[in-house]
């Protein structure tokens, strides 16, 4: 690889960011572990939803490395399966939100004028709303009243898609602003004029010429937002509004932990610790990527 290519320089700057490297390692380990969850399940010989009321809230043992919860389910396996749900929700919702933001930002920045003003007012308005209280209402609505077919409303995964959808329609604003700002300056560059000169359509210019130049800030923004999304999912699930049991998520594993806090305080510790470690790793990683791609930003 050329030693002066921007990518090479970015990689070199990123490698200096020890905390970010470490965080990337933590996240990869975490992802590997949750992928291997079925193996652990086989090894221990109990399923994630296997209830055993004779061994409720037992202390860690060889059979249950982290003990069991109030229904006698194995905590370790539920943590692993919960991690699948939490990580997947976070990544998917962050990507969806970024896609919406990218399209809105591109259109606003590229076409300017009325469209830009309208879209940016919309963005400002969404930012100015008290998000969490409104999200509570949004997750509480009855899908039957929206006229969705019962097959969807009653399916097991509906709580998962609902969260992804809700995060996506509220979380796009940061990326939209970022993309709009960058599009405004890039659209004045010579290669865009050249493309216009040879008769490329607006859509072609936006998505084939401008978008690739925005990838690195978008990647940084997505990485930084994954943490926020995981936090949001965990809060909603904790309140009983997100991922619905028996499907485990790190958030809903804490729902009952508060009532049991006097009897089994450790049940409240593990899921939250995993959320914390995951979110802080994504934030460190995003910070490192930001320094690597945009060396002007800090120091």
């Amino acid at each position: 690889m050329n030693k002066n290519s921007p990518l090479f320089l970015a990689i070199r700057r990123f490698r200096r960011h020890k905390l970010a490297i470490f965080s990337a390692g933590v996240l990869l380990t975490m992802i590997l572990l949750v992928i291997l969850a079925p193996l652990v399940e086989k090894w221990l010989g109990v399923g994630a939803n296997d209830v055993d009321l004779y061994s409720r809230m037992v202390a860690p043992s060889a059979e249950h490395p982290l003990g069991t919860d109030e229904l006698g389910r194995d905590v370790l396996i539920r943590l692993l399966y919960g991690g699948r749900v939490s990580l997947f929700t976070g990544l998917m919702a962050a990507c969806f939100a970024a896609s919406i933001g990218t399209v809105i930002g591109l259109f606003a920045g590229f076409f300017g004028g009325r469209l830009d003003a309208t879209l940016m007012r919309l963005t400002d308005s969404v930012i100015a709303l008290p998000l969490l209280p409104l999200l509570i209402v949004l997750v509480a609505i009855d899908l039957n009243k929206l006229g969705l077919p019962p097959a969807i409303v009653e399916s097991e995964d509906v709580s998962f898609y609902r969260i992804v959808f809700i995060v996506a329609i509220t979380g796009w604003t940061t990326v939209a602003r970022l993309v709009r700002g960058a599009t405004l300056s890039i659209k004045e560059r010579e290669f865009v004029m050249a493309a216009q000169g040879v008769g490329a359509s607006n859509l072609h210019i936006m998505f084939r010429h401008i978008l690739p130049n925005l990838l690195s800030p978008i990647i940084v923004a997505v990485t930084l937002s994954v943490g926020g999304v995981i936090l949001l999912e965990s809060v909603l699930s904790f309140l009983g509004l997100g991922i619905q049991p028996p499907m485990a998520s790190w958030g809903n594993m804490l729902t009952n932990a508060q009532q049991l806090i006097w009897e089994a305080p450790m049940l409240a510790v593990y899921p939250g610790l995993l959320i914390f470690v995951t979110v802080i790793s994504f934030n460190f990683l995003g910070d490192g990527l930001q320094d690597a791609f945009d060396p002007k930003a800090e120091y």
Partner: protein, 320 residues
């Protein structure tokens, strides 16, 4: 400036009106409706009775007509009764607002008083141990789930040490010390999160300012490093920070929904949560609108602060 204020004020008002319709429609989409609740209380009601009641209360009308009816009644001062509390909505709302102001006001003040000095200090000694410490704390603050921090504080201070109550609020007439005991844990939870984000903003804004020429000039003229940081730089570095603070100020009134719920603190956040969960349509609607209106006002305030603090900013072609 006046023109700018007028335009932004009108914009906020339009957003508020749109949001009142959106919230009204969303509340209508929540499971059940008032008639269902009446039916569940009275087993003798037939389907025909229910339909008659729906017609009587205008629930069979299209959504925009129902909204219009609600809006005109609400503007005439009748916000309805809360189902959960059996009281007029405002009588429930104001005590909650008071509790939220106490909780959030304390947490906000504490956070600002801690975050700005430590953020500034970290920026004045970049790459020092203090800087890394502050940075780490800031990252922890923005990454920790609020409800988990609350649970951990309860485990340590209520379960193991038994020093502080795990939730609730002191009864009326209790001494100041007794009241304060209930405040400590929720305030600590909220302040930790805020200190994380505020100190990060302060630090990066300060770093930005310290790179500028006038700082070098001040140093060259012999002003001490400390004087330059705290006198010359801080004022300019505060401009973006104050905007962030003003923005956050709006969220203070919608309360810390999660923290209030965990600690059973009877504020706005818990009120909104309970009313949504308890099918208290009137209360949920008004509480949400109230929170929205206050947040929008805080946004307006943030814009004004920004323009007022930084005379270099030009708005809409004229100098602010």
């Amino acid at each position: 400036m006046r023109r700018f204020l007028l335009i932004r004020g009108l914009q906020s008002l339009v957003v508020l009106v749109i949001m009142s319709f959106v919230i009204y429609a969303l509340i209508g989409l929540m499971p059940g409706d008032p008639i269902d609740l009446m039916i569940s209380a009275n087993p003798n009601m037939t389907a025909a009775d229910a339909a008659a009641l729906r017609e009587l209360y205008g629930l069979d009308l299209p959504i925009y007509e129902r909204y219009w009816n609600w809006l005109t009644t609400a503007l005439s001062g009748d916000l309805g009764y809360s189902r959960l509390f059996g009281q007029p909505v405002l009588d429930v709302l104001f005590p909650a607002l008071k509790n939220t102001v106490i909780l959030m006001g304390t947490a906000f003040t504490l956070a600002v008083c801690v975050a700005i000095p430590i953020g500034t200090f970290a920026a004045s000694k970049p790459r020092s141990a203090v800087d890394y410490g502050v940075n780490l704390f800031a990252f922890a603050g923005i990454s920790i789930p609020s409800f988990w921090l609350a649970l951990m504080l309860i485990i340590v201070f209520s379960v193991f040490l038994g020093w502080l109550p795990a939730g609730g609020i002191a009864s009326d007439g209790a001494g100041l010390f007794e009241q304060a005991k209930y405040l400590v844990l929720p305030v600590a939870t909220i302040a930790t999160l805020s200190i994380g984000s505020y100190s990060r903003y302060t630090r990066s804004s300060m770093l930005e300012v310290l790179r500028q020429d006038y700082i070098r000039t001040a140093r060259a003229k012999g002003a001490s490093r400390r004087r330059v940081v705290w006198k010359h730089a801080l004022r300019n570095a505060m401009i973006p920070v104050v905007t962030i603070l003003a923005l956050d100020f709006g969220y203070l009134f919608s309360g810390a929904l999660v923290t209030e719920t965990i600690f059973s603190w009877p504020g706005m956040g818990k009120l909104i949560f309970d009313s949504v969960m308890g099918n208290d349509f009137n209360l949920a609607l008004v509480a949400l609108l109230f929170a929205t209106a206050l947040t929008l006002s805080a946004n307006l305030l943030a814009d004004i602060c920004y323009a007022w603090l930084d005379p270099r900013i030009v708005i809409g072609g004229e100098k602010a």
